[in-house]
């Protein structure tokens, strides 16, 4: 790390070194992530030492408290001006504390806080041998369908490890959009990816599907990580540094008196272009943009639904944050090269996501394809390359993440004997049996579709306006057309819920505890408030929309 961080003309090859100076760490600015990661470590200890009966309450309490404290400190930092005039690069140049970072960290923390509720929900699954259980495997290590599993279920065990895993994932996600050098970016990526791979495998029902999804996610994720790290190596070879500002200077050609080695590598654009392309691939994989979207439907479908909801919302927020920072801080000088590519990716994502979603018959897969289309819409804002581009993407992410968490929380409620009834045909007539649940889901679908008076519309307008201002009018046209296509399948679900006859053996809606109800209620409230009174949040996003370099 220190060798890589050394300045290009530094003393890497010397045989002696200075006595190590204690690096100064800005604990205050880093406190949100420190709190969450610290709590994650404590949670592991709880797992090791607390009795099984107390773990659930300890873990839920600890996670909730840590995330709430993290959010409070994030808000405190933002109020204290760290989002604007006191924005700075901290942690020896590895992290930035600025508007976009704090904004996205705040969103991730609230999403995670809501997700703790859906993770901890224990009223949906039928009581197993006297114990209330959540939607995670009783003992993940046991063979699905084997004796060990039976014994674990009988003993009423639950997997409370999900909470430390969640906290680690959140910690990584908070660092990801704040990363100010490529190595921190990579480490943050791994910190949040590994727990997610695990969480995907932990479903209580349909465990084989769940494990399959985890393996797929892990293999493809590992593949994309390899691309990312290879790209980082190439870019380091080009710029002689992994730090964003240094790379940006080299890319712009504004570096002062380059060393001979740097001068030689600087002229080699191939390293830069190939390296950056690989880094972008790694990020676009996490975002779920076409053509790096293949994992999305399988993972969304197989993972336990609370995990899907959390992952779909928070990963997207974190990954788009990192993408924005990379493109706006490091690569503005290269925008002539990457913009056409991103145009293509955006168009493909919007069209493929919307078109393929039409044929889906599983509600989780359908939402997965819709998330791909949404990635395309957000990318339309990303390529705008203007102030409004940043703020519109921030706003869109805020709006989208709450709709997603809420929508997946509703999916957890609709159940039949086999667990969640995710096949669309089973949702027929839901509106007649449970009008309220169906109406809430309809609100989320309308928000996905971008109907006015929901947050989805304001977000869509914001990114399209940014794109149009940034000279990407064709993207707006494609976006509008694919929105029209997308509207079709959102409407299809609404038709199914309200206008179809309920099947005689159809699913029932489980009555959740306050945890899931709260998650859904927060989703609805945010969706409507952002749709009707968006001004405060738009202001927030545009104040926050300035990167520090």
């Amino acid at each position: 790390m220190s060798a890589l961080n050394a300045s290009p003309d530094g003393a890497v090859h010397n045989l002696w070194t200075h006595a190590a100076e204690a690096p100064s760490i800005e604990y205050l600015q880093l406190s949100p992530a420190l709190i969450v990661l610290g709590a994650a470590v404590v949670a592991i200890l709880v797992e090791a030492f607390a009795p099984r009966s107390a773990r659930y309450y300890l873990q839920v309490g600890l996670s909730g408290l840590a995330l709430a404290c993290g959010f409070a400190t994030t808000v405190g930092l933002a109020v204290g001006g760290y989002a604007t005039d006191k924005a700075a690069v901290v942690g020896i140049g590895s992290l930035s504390v600025d508007g976009p970072a704090l904004f996205l960290q705040g969103v991730i923390l609230v999403v995670a806080l809501v997700s703790v509720g859906t993770f901890a929900e224990r009223r949906l699954e039928p009581v197993a041998h006297g114990a209330r259980v959540d939607s995670f495997a009783a003992q993940p290590a046991s063979v699905p369908g084997g004796e060990g599993e039976q014994a674990a279920i009988k003993a009423g065990w639950t997997t409370t490890e999900i909470f430390p895993l969640l906290l680690f994932a959140v910690g990584g996600m908070m660092l990801f959009p704040a990363a100010n050098d490529l190595l921190t970016l990579f480490i943050a990526l791994e910190v949040f990816s590994l727990p997610l791979y695990l969480l995907c495998a932990l479903a209580r029902r349909r465990r084989l599907l769940s494990q399959e999804s985890a393996v797929k996610y892990f293999l493809l994720g590992a593949f994309s990580s390899a691309f990312l790290i290879f790209g980082i190596a190439l870019v380091y070879g080009y710029a002689g540094s992994v730090q964003y500002p240094v790379i940006a200077d080299v890319v712009d050609g504004t570096v002062q008196s380059p060393s001979p080695a740097l001068a030689a590598s600087m002229s080699n654009d191939v390293l830069l272009l190939v390296g950056m392309a690989m880094i972008l691939m790694g990020l676009l994989f996490k975002v779920g943009a076409v053509p790096f979207h293949m994992w999305t439907p399988d993972v969304y479908q197989g993972a336990p639904t609370p995990v899907t909801g959390f992952m779909a919302a928070a990963t997207k927020v974190a990954a788009f944050g990192a993408l924005l920072r990379l493109l706006y801080v490091v690569l503005p000088g290269l925008s002539w090269d990457w913009r056409p590519v991103m145009w293509g990716v955006a168009i493909l994502s919007m069209v493929v996501g919307a078109v393929v979603a039409i044929t889906q018959t599983d509600v989780k897969r359908l939402l997965a394809y819709s998330s791909i289309a949404h990635a395309g819409f957000i990318l339309a804002g990303v390529v705008a390359m203007n102030d409004r581009g940043i703020s519109s993407v921030l706003f869109y992410l805020l709006a989208y993440s709450f709709v997603t968490v809420g929508a997946f929380a509703v999916v957890t409620l609709v159940r039949d004997a086999g667990g969640e009834a995710t096949h669309l045909s089973k949702w027929a007539g839901l509106g007649r049996r449970s009008p309220l649940v169906a109406a809430v889901f309809a609100i989320f679908l309308l928000a996905f579709a971008g109907i006015p008076l929901t947050s989805g519309f304001v977000g869509k307008f914001a990114v399209f306006a940014a794109a149009a201002e940034g000279g990407a009018a064709p993207l707006v046209v494609v976006g509008v057309l694919s929105s029209a296509i997308a509207a079709f399948f959102y409407v299809k679900i609404i038709v199914l819920m309200f206008f179809s006859e309920p099947a005689p053996d159809g699913p029932t809606v489980a009555i959740p505890s306050v945890l899931t109800t709260g998650a859904i209620a927060i989703g609805v409230v945010v969706t409507l408030v952002l749709g009707i009174m968006p001004q405060y949040f738009l202001d927030l996003a545009s104040t926050a929309g300035v990167f520090v370099r």
Partner: protein, 538 residues
């Protein structure tokens, strides 16, 4: 320039919205309470709309009762309301018709006995709440002078409409209950997808408008007045191509809503499958937003592009007139017949708007109002008829005038209004549209006149087949005449048709100054002959 007095227009829209929430909250067992509550709210809204009409000074400013508040400053969006004479007429029409829609649909949404539903399933409450919600959104659309604000409600009203069409149909369907539900859901989806697609095209144009204004004025704006001022002072100039693209984006959305051939195909499905009060709501109220918006936004924002598109639009309008009338003649289903007749009438309205003469546009505005009333009369009586026999097919009727004379008589008056019989209100508006068209486009005027002849054919054929002749079917022989509630619905509508047919002045006085403003928007004056005629008429 907002006056700080009571926000009358907001109140007119908020009252039905609150009423909708309250109606939806009525417990499942208290259906009657919900009905009366909704009816009372619609009457209250009517009262407020009448206050709006009375406070409006035809000789005053162009937009009156204005309200202006910041809404989404980031996009330059303001909550700006204001009405000109056309807006007043349309708000009044909406507020007048909704009580009739509610009264006519009094029992349409009662839950079916023995239906398997959840405890909290409250179709009746939902039905009336949705109607009030639509009313609120339509009123805001008519009052909005901010393009974005208009767009929001123009799109949002699709959702309650969609549930009204898909969720509530006629009890009896000629092809069985299940097929009926399927057809209904198809109609609802078709309605939504057509209109949503149109709305999204418009969204692209709204974004475009924002970029154009942000680019040239430094700050994006959607305010009609601000844009008009900027254009007048030369601060804002749209390139010819840009203006045409934006015009098209807006126009396509409005042409789908209106609906204009060839974007009309959703209307017969939607009107055919929904209950007749909802069909009235679609054609008499919601679709008017489309034609109204052509006047206010297409002509107001893009005068040059409007002039450029006029020949094409007039051609489409003429096709609509003739095509709608011909297809109406060929229909076997009463409600679809009225739907195609409406398409023909919307052709007249669009023709009048784009004739770019003051008679044409004044006539088109009156046409919107009178078509609303006459279609409501015809369609609601048709609904009463259908509910008695349980069939929408014309062939299932015959000789009704012998067993139910009042029903037949009111049906005839509604029909005669539809074919624009002199003495009834629609005659005046149709005549004005034709005169206005003749003075600028004589050929178009002649073609449009054929629509009148065809209207006589489809209306009289309908009456002849359903009402006259011998009573052959036992269901007809037992058919009861109109009930007091039904008479109470139809009688005022017919009274209005006759009143405005003889004495249209209160309406023309409000509308005409607004038409003059629109004419000056498009920088058109009436052709010589028409002007002198108009002066002679004065």
């Amino acid at each position: 320039m907002a006056d700080m007095s009571f926000p009358l227009l907001t109140a007119t829209a908020v009252l039905p919205a609150l009423g909708a929430v309250a109606t939806a909250a009525v417990p499942a067992a208290r259906r009657t309470v919900a009905k009366w509550l909704a009816f009372a709210v619609s009457l209250g809204t009517l009262a407020l709309a009448l206050v709006v009409a009375m406070r409006f000074d035809p000789g005053g400013d162009r937009y009156q009762l204005t309200e202006s508040r910041s809404w989404i400053a980031d996009f330059g969006v303001r909550y700006e309301l204001g009405v000109d004479g056309i807006g007043v007429a349309m708000i009044a029409l909406t507020a007048v018709l909704i009580p009739f829609v509610i009264a006519a649909g009094w029992n349409d949404a009662d839950p079916v006995e023995g239906e398997k539903t959840g405890r909290s399933w409250r179709p009746t409450q939902g039905f009336f709440a949705l109607i009030l919600m639509v009313e609120a959104m339509v009123i805001i659309s008519f009052a909005a002078t901010d393009v974005f604000l208009f767009y929001v409600f123009f799109e949002a009203m699709l959702i309650p409409m969609y549930f009204l069409i898909g969720g509530f149909g006629d009890r009896a369907h000629s092809r069985g209950e299940e097929e009926g539900a399927k057809q209904r859901s198809y109609a609802a989806v078709k309605f939504l997808l057509y209109n949503l697609a149109g709305g999204l095209v418009m969204l692209a144009a709204v974004v475009g408008l924002y970029v154009v204004t942000a680019d040239q004025l430094g700050e994006g704006t959607f305010s009609l007045q601000q844009i008009a001022e900027a254009r007048a002072s030369g601060e804002l100039t749209m390139g010819t191509n840009a203006e045409r693209m934006l015009f098209l984006g807006f126009f396509i959305a409005f042409a789908i809503k209106a609906p204009l051939w060839p974007l009309h195909t959703w209307l017969p499905n939607a009107m055919g499958e929904s209950t007749s009060p909802v069909a009235v709501l679609i054609t008499a109220v919601v679709d008017k937003v489309g034609t109204f918006a052509m006047l206010r936004f297409c002509l107001g924002l893009f005068p040059e592009a409007s002039a450029w598109a006029t020949p094409a639009v007039i051609a489409l309008a003429l096709i609509s007139i003739i095509y709608g009338a011909l297809l109406a003649i060929g229909q076997r289903d009463i409600k679809r017949l009225v739907a195609y007749a409406s398409i023909s009438h919307f052709g007249f309205i669009v023709l009048g708007i784009f004739a770019m003469t003051s008679q044409g546009q004044g006539g088109a505005t009156l046409y919107m109002v009178f078509h609303g009333i006459s279609t409501a009369a015809l369609m609601l009586v048709a609904g009463f008829l259908i509910s008695r026999r349980g069939s929408r097919l014309i062939a299932d009727y015959g000789g009704v005038q012998k067993t139910a004379p009042v029903l037949a008589g009111t049906f005839l008056v509604g029909g005669l209004a539809t074919l624009s019989l002199p003495g009834l209100a629609p005659f005046i508006s149709e005549f004005l549209v034709l005169v206005g068209t003749f003075s600028r486009y004589p050929v178009a005027g002649i073609v449009a006149t054929a629509g009148i002849v065809l209207a006589a054919v489809y209306v009289l054929l309908l009456y002849q087949r359903t009402m006259t002749g011998p009573v052959e079917k036992p269901e007809i022989a037992k058919m009861p005449d109109l009930r007091p509630r039904e008479i109470a619905v139809v009688a005022p509508l017919i009274a209005m048709l006759i009143f405005f047919g003889l004495f249209p002045k209160p309406l023309t006085e409000i509308v005409n100054p607004a038409v003059e403003h629109t004419m000056s928007d498009v920088r058109k004056t009436d052709p010589e002959t028409a002007q002198s005629d108009a002066e002679a008429a004065k």
